[in-house]
Every structure is written in C-alpha cells, then in structure tokens.
Symmetry: C2
Subunit: 449 residues, 2 copies
C-alpha cells in the first residue's frame, strides 16, 4: 500500500464515520462565537464542517482556529460524525489543528467582483464552488466523449497542432516560424488528418486543442478551444447524423448520471437535460429558410456601417446567432439542419449528387440558446471535384497533395463532424460565459494568467 493512498479525502468520509482522521485542505469559510469555531474546510474533493470546541482542544489550537483566514491551509484532526445539516454532510469534532500557512488578504472575497478582476485572478477563482462544478462537468464531458468513441470501435488518432497548410484560409491562423521550413500554423481542425486516419483504421477520432486567430471575434469567443472530431470510412450523411445524435445523447445522459451534485450547485434545470434523447429534430436548410421567411426573421447585414434588416431571409445566406436562436425557440431538443448551400460551406464537403447547389453538410444546433454544437459533413471523395474546389478557392494545391492522395488510392465515401467542448459544457452547465468553461481561457484581449 502506497502512503499516498492513506490520505483521508473529504469525499471518502462516509467510510470512516466514528473514526479520528486527519484532513488537509483550505478554509472555505469560517465563523465563531464564544467557545465555538466553525471552519468549512475544502480539499478539492468536497467540503466538511470542522467544529472547534474550546473545551476539547488546547488553548494554542483554539487560538489558531480563531486566527485563520479564508484560503489559509490547514491540517485538521478530529472525529467524523455524519450530520445531514452540515455542509457536505459530515462534521469533524476537532481534536487538533495545524496551520500550514495563513493566507493574508485573499483577493476574492464573498462580495461580487467584476469580470476583468475574476479573469485576472483565474488561478484563484478556480477555487470557488461554481468554478469547481463547471470544471468537474467539463472533465465528465471529456470522459464521456472518450468513452463513447473508445467503446464504439473508434481509434484515437491525434492530429498535429503545427501544420504547414490552412484548412480554411490563412487569415485567421496563428503563425510561427518553423526552423528552415518557413512558417507553421496552429491547427484550426484536425479533420484532414482524421480522414487519413479513417482510411487506415476505419473509424477514428482526433481530440485536442484548436485555434482561431479571428480578430472579428467578440470577447465571448475563445481563441483556443478543444474539439473532438470523429471521422468514419463508409459513412454517408445519414450515418453521420445518426452518430451525432447518439453521441450528444450519450454525453448529456452521462453528465446527468455522474454530476448530479455539480448540476445542483449550478442550479441547472435538469428536466431539460433528461429530455435530451434520440430522436432529435432534423430539417433541411431549405425548409429552415422557409420557416425563417414564414416567421418574418430577417437577416442583418452591415451596409455603410449600419445594421440593416433584410426581409425575407434570402436562400443562400448562412445563419447567424439571430436566426439560430429564433429558429431553435420551437425546439426542446437539438435540431440538425442539413444540406446547406455549397457557397457557404468548406471546400472539402461533398456536393449533393442530385443538386450540386447544396452540400451534404450538417449543423446541430442546441436548445436554450446553446448555438452550434456540431458541424460536420460527408466529404468530397471524388478526386476531380475536390481538385476543382481547391483551385476555385485558390488554396495552395501542393500543400494538399497528400490530402488528394486519399482520393487517388482507394477513395471511399466517408463522413465526420466536430463538436466543441466548451460550447457543450456551456450548454449543459448553463454557464453564463464560455470563458468559465475552460480552466485558462484565451481570448483576443486575454492571455494571462
């Protein structure tokens, strides 16, 4: 037995009721009057109420208990009592207490702080119970993602971050010097590499950080975010949509099963999440436009630096937040919109054989203003059509030689999609801002800490 396994964690107090144990942690809260001091101790796994009664401890220990401040570090020894009324469900009758360090003037007090202040102190803000809960849900979402694919015959195939070419143009890319080989760009998507993986291993997924250097982004956008991208040989758009539904249902139901406590802290209405079960809704882009027209939802365009509303919504335009949120008002589950106009989608998407004006693309929009959770498509598997698209978009052909090889040597129908982790976490937790959904958010105006 390793020594570290003997450390008493608060989440395991139910195993040691009646015993004397030593806890280690930080002061989350405290109050006292007369002969009693109450300390709420947090150790990362939970909180426990430690009661220091003057008659039970030495004078030195009692004085220590009075001296401690928020976020001071302690070790506390005492007898465990189950007590439903106590925060965390257990109370420690303290027999000894050692101060490890007194925290002087912890910057995050109980009062409200502004966003900028909290972001600057993100390394400390992480200690709050709301941030704990969001990060635990994030970890559960990521575990669900991996379990889903690992359990369905997919092989993880990590794609590189440093790439020689741009998937969708170079204007929104972070660039870095790469030895004598010129520039490298930080990956916006692992998809093209996942396609190579799928032709080798059948069903694969890539999962890692991706980057967008878009100046046009608002402060609500992250410049660095995590994305999972499955890619499947022999899947057509229909299969892709089926998988996307199974996948999102699995994630939501997994979080519900494993993060009850966290969702409660976050005051999330879980009935809305219970409802996220297949089948979801599906509608073609063309039918979605009809709905927008019928419901008088305009498109908003900048003309002479002014926002102008254009009605009726014209077929061929991409949807923005206004259209997506209006459209999703009618649904209590995600809706997949499919068969988008070729013009608004990426070069690698397969054109519909019966109507080349649209591509075999899908976007899954979430309810409750969750926005786009998933974007995906069947891929163009015809060499000539793909090359034509690469040329039409003025992409550097030689950089895509290897990608074209996939259509030279045993091309097959294949499909995939990408799901953004932070957006999914924001939806499931009901967090106000996406920046709370990643431990250290990176935005156009923030790279510290």
């Amino acid at each position: 037995m390793s020594r570290y396994k003997d450390y008493q964690l608060i989440e395991k107090l139910s195993n040691v009721v009646g015993n004397e144990v030593t806890l280690r942690g930080w002061v989350y809260n405290q109050r006292g009057k007369g002969k009693l001091q109450f300390i709420i101790l947090r150790d990362g796994t939970g909180i426990a109420q430690c009661v220091v009664f003057r008659d039970n401890v030495t004078e030195e220990v009692f004085e220590s208990a009075k001296r401690i401040t928020q976020e001071s570090s302690l070790s506390v020894t005492g007898v465990v009592r189950a007590d439903e009324r106590a925060p965390g469900g257990f109370e420690i009758d303290v027999t000894d207490l050692k101060i490890i360090q007194i925290a002087q003037d912890y910057p995050i007090a109980k009062k409200e702080h502004g966003d900028a202040f909290l972001m600057k102190h993100r390394h400390l803000w992480l200690r709050s119970s709301r941030q704990h809960a969001i990060l635990r849900v994030r970890a559960a979402v990521i575990k669900a993602i991996r379990d889903f694919f690992d359990g369905s015959g997919f092989t993880l195939v990590d794609s590189p971050i440093l790439t020689p070419n741009a998937c969708e143009g170079t204007s929104t890319l972070f660039e870095t010097k790469y030895f004598d080989l010129g520039s490298a760009y930080l990956s916006q998507s692992g998809q093209l590499y996942a396609e190579a993986g799928a032709f080798a291993l059948g069903r694969v997924y890539t999962f890692g950080p991706t980057f967008r250097a878009e100046l046009s982004s608002t402060r609500k956008h992250l410049t660095e975010f995590w994305m999972v991208e499955p890619e499947m040989a022999f899947f057509d758009l229909e299969d892709d949509m089926d998988l996307a539904e199974d996948f999102v249902e699995y994630i939501v139901q997994y979080v519900l099963k494993t993060c009850r406590k966290e969702l409660e802290i976050l005051e999330r209405d879980t009935t809305k999440l219970e409802n996220i079960k297949r089948p979801f809704y599906r509608m073609s882009y063309t039918d979605a436009v009809d709905w927008l027209v019928k419901n008088d939802i305009p498109i908003i365009k900048k003309i002479d630096n002014q926002d102008v509303e254009i009605r009726p919504f014209p077929w061929g335009e991409d949807f923005g937040t206004v259209q997506e949120e209006a459209f999703m008002e009618q649904f209590d589950k995600p809706c997949i919109i499919h068969h988008y106009p070729t013009e608004v989608k990426a070069f690698y998407m397969k054109r519909d054989e019966s109507n080349p004006k649209v591509v075999c693309a899908l976007d899954m929009l979430g309810p409750e203003k969750a926005g786009e959770l998933i974007g995906g498509s069947q891929r163009e598997d015809n060499f000539d059509l793909l090359l034509e698209r690469i040329k039409a978009e003025n992409l550097p052909e030689e950089a895509f030689e290897w990608y074209l090889d996939l259509r030279r040597y045993g091309s097959v129908p294949h499909s995939g999609f990408g799901l953004g982790v932070e957006r999914t976490v924001k939806w499931i937790t009901g967090a106000k801002h996406i920046r709370e959904c990643i431990p250290m958010p990176r935005m156009i105006d923030r790279i510290y800490p």
Copy 2:
C-alpha cells in the same frame, strides 16, 4: 438501431459465421491462379481473406477481382467461414464484389522504402499493419492514462497551449503574435497551471500536446509531443514516486491485457513487459554517480569541438543518454533516480531541507534503453525561496505573479510529474523510431504532411 451500426466490421465476423455479409474495405494483398482469386481485405478493424471462385460468381465479378490492385477500395459480399489457417481467422466465399475505386500505382509497395520516403507518405504509411499496431497501442496507452487518473479521484484540468511566459526560458519556444498583447509561446509544460488546479481541486492532471523548438535536437526528437502531468496537493516526493510506479505499472499491464494482437504483430517480447510490476528500483542521484564512477562510465563533453571523455564522472553533472543506458543495463524494470543537484534542475523544484544542494526531484528511467519516461518533483512551496529562484534565473517576475500567488494564499506541500506519451509508446511497442509513435510526427526537418 442506427443504420451505421449495421455495417459489418471484420473484427465482428465471429458473430456471423455461416451468414452472407457485405464487407467494405481496401485490398491489402491479393494473388490468384486459374479459377481462384484470393483477396486480403482490410477495413481498419482487421483483415479477412476473400476467396473468389469463378464458378460462384458472374464473369463480370471475376474479371473485377482480377483487375484490382493494392489499396483499391471494394465492397465484397459473401458467406463467412471460420478458418484458422486464413489470415485474420475467417474466409469469405465471395458471391458478389463491387469496385469502389481502383488505386493506380500505390506508392508504398511491399519492397523496403527509405525513411524519408515513408515519412513523406505518412498519410499512406499509416495503412501498414505495423503502423496500425503502434497506433492502436498508442490509443491504449492514452486510454490507460485517462482511466488511471479518472479512477483515482483526479480531475482533468486542461492547461493552455498559448502562454505568456516560458516555463524554462524562451530560447526553445515557438513564438506567435497574439493580437495587441505581444507574443504568445506554445506551452512546453502545463505544470504551472496544473499547480493552480491542484490548489483548487486537490488532485488534477493536464494532458495535451507540448512543444520544444530546440535546434539542438536530433532528427530523432519530436518538436510536438503529448505529455500527461498529474499534480497533487499534499504529496511529498515519496508519494510522488509511489504514484509514478503505480501509474507506469498500470499502463504497461493495461496494454498487455488489451493489445496482445498488436504486440504480436510488432514481435515484442512480452515477458519483459509482464515483469513491469511494483516495486521498481530506486536510487539517489549521489548513489547513481557512485555506480557510474565504480563502473568507469565517463561523461562526454565537447571541448574545442571534440568529444572528450572525462573520468571519473563528476558529481553535479546531469546524466545523458550514455550514462542512462549504461546505468539501466543492470535493471529489468524502471528505476527512479531521485534528489538531483539543484543546479541541473528547474527553478520550481523544492530544495531538500536537510541538504539544499539537491532538490526533491525524480526521473524514472526505463529498461531496454527506454530512456527517461517520467520527470517530476516536489514543488517549492515557500514564497521567499521560490521568488529567490525566479530572480536568480532572471525570469520575468511579473509573468510569474499568478504563480507566486499560489504560495501567498494557502501554500501547501505538493508534487507532480510528467510522462511523455511517445517515449512510453516507443518503449512498450519496441518501435525503432519515436516518429512512428505519433500519427503525424513533427521534427526539425519535417512538417509535412
């Protein structure tokens, strides 16, 4: 039931013996004579031998079977027979065959190719059975890593890739412009952020790609590699070593359990891996130097551009490949070397209280020339000593303000380590080169595909 779940995968043929099924995949190999054509089909999940007998199929199908080439894509319909002698264990008596695409002149033939050629065709090289096997072991190693920590009360806390400051100096960093905030650097380690996570959540791990822009690296080094870094509040060096041993034992035993077939393809001597069980070996740096001296292992230094051997090995110098490999010859399991000289280790490591000339550091070296699998330490938790080290190394103090905050507000003893995924995969698989241990390797002379 989703449609995609009905696709017949080769790995699931044992469920459908006697049935007629349709497989989809690529031609891995073929041969024929007279009325018989044998096609080895791969679909990413396995291989199956498809037998085309002229009397059982139309003339058109038989002509198609003769036309196919390596890596052509097909769908094959036929009746499944279990046959131990067949590659993969099953034979398909073909009734129908459809060519999806004929691959013309697939570049990777059965003959030997040079490294540069294979690396340039990495997107196709991935289709070979050896590369399959290595990537499957890689995926298993990563799953073992996550399962180990998720199952031991750790919370995943992703650290950022874009960072404002350098963990260990800026000379070996990839740099990119970050909007109006100056430069950002690609992370070499998530450790500092993991420390903030540990103070919030107790036991955490960060897992993602890390970057080294070291020009001095050989072509055998990767510039982009994956690293997992656990960080634990209240762990001292002893606990850290215990955890590191448990962890590596878990990974190796998990791969043995789940990747028998892959290890066989790789012709790995699994008895050596069976043996990787706790306890491992441990030795202080000082005792290891004594061993080097006793065994006459020199240090090799460049003097006037010449390699000069210096004997006896001087206390205070870091170990290189020569010393590590000589030292590890005596061991059949990993060995942890601990308490390294302060001078050769990073600023954040805790000095030994009884001897400040050494720090509470650990390196785990693997047997069979595996090299350093793990590097870790107890962290300096004293504010003044940490600040002194930051100043002594001329690191930008303001960039480390947030890191110093962790020692201002409830500092506690804490420890952690990092394990490199590709080195671990190289050791376990016995792969010749580290570049085979990641799907798309990045080296100083390679960023394509």
